[in-house]
Amino acid sequence: MSRRGFLGSMVAGGVVATWPADAQSADAASSGAPPPVRTALTINGHRHELTLDPRVTLLDLLREHLGLTGTKKGCDHGQCGACTVLADGRRINACLSLAVAHDGEQIVTVEGLARGETLHPVQAAFLEQDAFQCGYCTPGQICSAVALLDEVRAGAVSAATADVSRLAPAALSDEEIRERMSGNLCRCGAYPNIVAAVRAAGGRRAA
């Protein structure tokens, strides 16, 4: 087939004709589509009133609907942490969250951390410690670290905490940092500098 013939057949193909709907099996495609759901979320301080397909995850809402592409899709199955955002102050995986299920909540993404030109201390620490290479895991790492520091201040425990029955806030050792950041993967291997950044942002020197 000549080049023109190839291109010609593509253009002429156009949109594939819709086949008549088959006799419906249990697995048949959505015929009567379920109603979209109205929801309101505050994202980085801006209120969004939305009408959404319930299937839209918080991650896809941010990236595909609202142009907030700072939060990343690394696995879409809650395994890598690249999609970590803050919902009412808690770190969560946006990929396993339905947008509509977070109705009324305050969502903070990486784009919402800086105050104008002034970076959040965790962002600044990541920059100073060179805690990234390709940068794709970085927004998730940063949001996770922001929440981590709040959790430590609130006295939360981790699997690295020697005695969970002690109610005093855990000391933020490197071991604690690694355990508390274990939900955020980095394939470039920037882990040592990420730990250094969290340590610095937490106001400690090396342990």
Binding site: F6, T71, T109, F126, Q133, G135, I142, R187, C188
Partner: protein, 541 residues
């Protein structure tokens, strides 16, 4: 002087604020979403593929399969062996054959991501499955020398001196087999492409690629386009490690889908789909034989690697290459053989050949040191190659001895405990070891363009990549030094095929900055001349 001085990454602020745009994040209007359907079997044929349920999902625009996909132009190198060693044979819906698990077999295009994924799950495929085989060990006897060499400077086999005789006569022999497993790159950013046509013959691709010019050429070849009419853009890449070097099937499929629906199509692989169709490092079986005198002098080195490739394309993991140059020996013989398996085609991954190959060779040397009751470092020094052992040419420079010396000093090598199992760290046994590590430096033709604007900003553009390797920052420093301006006055751009027009080269880890360095320096010399002229002529830029 900026090079050699610490500098915060110039793209750092963009990355920590979420401002850096990766492949699927470029804002385009009227974009449709693609979803790939991949095979559930490893070998066989698609007996039937029923897309009716998929097509009747609301908001679905098209479903492409081998039944309705356009035929690629004749002579288009999809089924043949591709033109360049780093080009791979692709699966572009041209037939009903399944050659590996997760092979692309259909593309769904829809208005929304949710509809695309829903429909992809509804594509009903009936397979005529054949027995598949992905094993290596039971099939070693079928291993064959590759028909096509990989890199021209890496022939599959080399023979220098008489290894058989030297081994037979050796005072001490070490023969061992080392095995390394399959390894997958898994960069944080899944492979993805946005394809947008402008008219029938001009195509823009926002692609997660480590080689924008390779991508441009490959896509042009496959779709019968002029390379100048294919524009590839990749300013930020969420990791690659080699897996985004070749142009894989989904890139072309995105272009085909975009043509079909007459809209830009954004196609991202789902994470499970990044295992199979976009390369990985093959497992290896490496047989090493070393012959030596009692004093540790090597007399024979044999390194035979067997790895796997797909049933339809050849890629050779060059694990036997380090043995060709690392140590002096009067006889060296190396080989690579491939077993064809029902897997996707392997590809370059972090230090191709060097990673698995130096592991095996260094372990062999350690074992030889053990047999000789000799300090492993002393064994390396004993066999230090003062010149290339095969070509007998002097090195342009070699500071490996210095590395050994400084390393030994800093690590306290001579103070290490000699008895095995002598050191603990808590419950864990801790050992001491050393190994030589090498990575090649490749230089090739390159170009950059420099402009000095009236406000004193130096703009430098080059068609390179930064996959986390730091190209943006390194080139900023090089450009700053070339023209004697502070780095803050430099704006370096990359990742766009309109930035330069010379022959393509791919960038893997650390390759780009070295290459661009030279080009940028040259461009700046021109710039410096122009600036001197401008200073002499007030009012002109």
């Amino acid at each position: 002087m900026s090079v050699g001085q610490p500098l915060d990454r110039v793209d750092g602020r963009a990355k920590v604020t979420g401002g850096a745009r990766y492949t699927t994040e470029h804002p385009l209007t009227n974009v449709a979403h693609g979803a790939l359907v991949t095979s559930a079997i490893a070998r066989g044929r698609i007996a039937s593929i029923d897309t009716r349920a998929a097509e009747s999902v609301r908001d679905v625009l098209a479903v492409l399969t081998h039944v309705n996909a356009p035929r690629l132009p004749a002579g288009s190198p999809s089924g043949d062996h591709p033109q360049r060693p780093s080009d791979r044979v692709l699966q572009l819906l041209q037939d009903d054959v399944v050659r590996y698990a997760n092979q692309p077999i259909a593309v769904v295009v829809a208005e929304t991501l949710e509809a695309a994924h829903e429909a992809a799950a509804l594509v009903r495929v009936a397979y005529a499955a054949d027995e598949h085989d992905v094993r290596l060990e039971p099939r070693l006897a079928e291993a064959r020398s590759p028909k096509h060499a990989g890199r021209p400077d890496q022939p599959p086999e080399t023979a220098h001196g008489d290894v058989d005789a030297a081994l037979a006569a050796a005072e001490v022999k070490l023969e061992q087999v080392y095995r390394t497993p399959f390894e997958t790159h898994v960069p944080m950013e899944p492979h993805a492409t946005i394809a947008a046509w402008e008219g029938p013959a001009r195509l823009t691709l926002y692609d997660a690629t480590q080689g924008i010019f390779g991508c441009r050429q490959r896509v042009a070849d496959l779709l019968g386009l002029k390379p100048d009419d294919v524009h590839v853009v990749s300013p930020y890449l969420g990791g690659g490690f080699g897996s985004k070097g070749p142009t894989w099937s989904h890139v072309v499929l995105a272009a085909m889908a975009a043509r079909r629906v007459n809209r830009p199509v954004k196609l991202a692989l789902r994470r499970p789909q990044t295992f199979g169709p976009v390369g990985f490092r093959s497992r290896t079986r490496q047989a090493i034989a070393l012959g030596a005198r009692r004093d540790g002098t090597l007399t024979a080195v044999r390194h035979d690697t067997i790895a796997q490739t797909s049933s339809f394309d050849e890629f050779m993991e060059p694990a036997s290459v380090p043995a060709r140059m690392l140590y002096a020996s009067p006889s060296i013989a190396t080989s690579h053989k491939l077993v064809r398996s029902d897997i996707g085609t392997p590809s370059y991954m972090r230090a191709p050949g060097w990673a698995p190959g130096s592991y095996a060779l260094e372990c062999a040397l350690d074992e030889l040191a053990g047999a000789l009751d000799m300090d492993p470092l002393a064994l390396r020094l004993k066999n230090y190659a003062e010149q290339d052992p095969e070509k007998h040419r002097p090195w342009s420079s070699k500071t490996l001895r210095e590395c050994y010396r400084v390393g030994a000093e800093r690590f306290g090598w001579n103070r290490r405990p000699r008895a095995p199992r002598a050191q603990r760290d808590g419950r864990a046994l801790v050992g001491w070891g050393m190994a030589t590590s090498v990575y090649p430096t490749h230089r090739s033709k390159a170009a950059a363009r420099a402009r000095l604007t009236a406000d004193g900003t130096l703009h430098v553009d080059s068609g390179s990549q930064d996959l986390g390797t730091g190209t943006y920052t390194v080139m900023t420093q090089v450009a700053a030094d070339a023209l004697g301006v502070p780095p803050a006055r430099v704006v370096f751009r990359l990742g766009d095929t309109t930035f330069r027009r010379l022959a393509d080269r791919r960038q893997r880890r650390l390759r780009g900055p070295r290459r661009r360095h030279g080009a940028a320096r040259e461009a700046h010399r021109g710039g410096r001349r122009r600036r001197a002229l401008a200073a002499a002529r007030p009012g002109r830029q």
